[in-house]
Symmetry: C2
Subunit: 122 residues, 2 copies
DNA sequence: ACATCATACTGTGTTATACATAGTATATGT
DNA sequence: ACATATACTATGTATAACACAGTATGATGT
């Protein structure tokens, strides 16, 4: 069942990228609903049932701060990076870049046709 | 406890990259012990307690095939990508690239100084 | 001959979290 | 009045790297 395997592996891949992407978007403050749209605009579909618990958890971990504000007759919860969050984001970006370099390096040495196609597109 | 958070988030990030990197290295057949060294040479430290179960799981999922062979007086288990494995690897690479593009795109639009430093280094 | 290290691998419980699913409240459009 | 969009909260399930422990055996050092 290759497609099922791919789905699981794809989820694993998303897990790491998701946090980096969400933190990256919160250099400027956003509330959940528009953050979800921003992520979608940049190619990352994320269900609200996944996004809100993630935001909550990142706040608990001290990487985000939030405050309620009423705008356009609606109560919205705005999130933004903390100083610690900016620092962690930098570190995670470094990890992401390092993993990317490792993968490319391995592909260059061991990936046959795949190495060529990847290099060509970058 | 930022450093503890970073460790957990780093693990999440690794989860996706790890499978891609291992599959990429197995275009040519390797046995576990040298595969571990190859990964280390390319910047990915992975404990044997993590690598062997991963290889086992990927074989069960049909992405790898293995066979025992005696070399230099030792029994070694050689692994290599199957046709399905090559296909899944391509798809995962595409997912990885898409996530990377999304992150860069978000950084470009929302990341302040970080956006500049990342662009400069690439 | 024996101790130590390197090689080569197997087994399994713990921990963490996206996902899936369900839900509430309220403003706006038809 | 009803449907849809906006904006969010709550929680159990499924998954897998890690951490840790272990076995077997060849090579090397004393």
């Amino acid at each position: 069942m290759s497609s099922e395997n791919f789905d699981n592996l794809r989820l694993e891949l998303r897990r790491g990228g998701l946090v980096v992407a969400v933190l990256a978007a919160l250099h400027s403050e956003q509330y959940g609903y528009t953050l979800r749209k921003i992520m979608a605009d940049h190619g990352i579909e994320i269900d609200e049932g996944t996004l809100y618990p993630l935001l909550r958890r990142l706040e608990i971990q001290g990487l985000l701060k939030s405050k309620w504000r009423e705008e356009q007759k609606r109560n919205k919860r705005f999130y933004q990076l903390t100083a610690a969050g900016k620092q962690i984001l930098q570190q995670l970006l470094t990890e992401w870049r390092n993993m990317d370099s490792s993968i490319n390096s391995i592909l260059k040495e061991y990936g046959h046709a795949t190495s060529r196609t990847v290099s060509a597109s970058r």
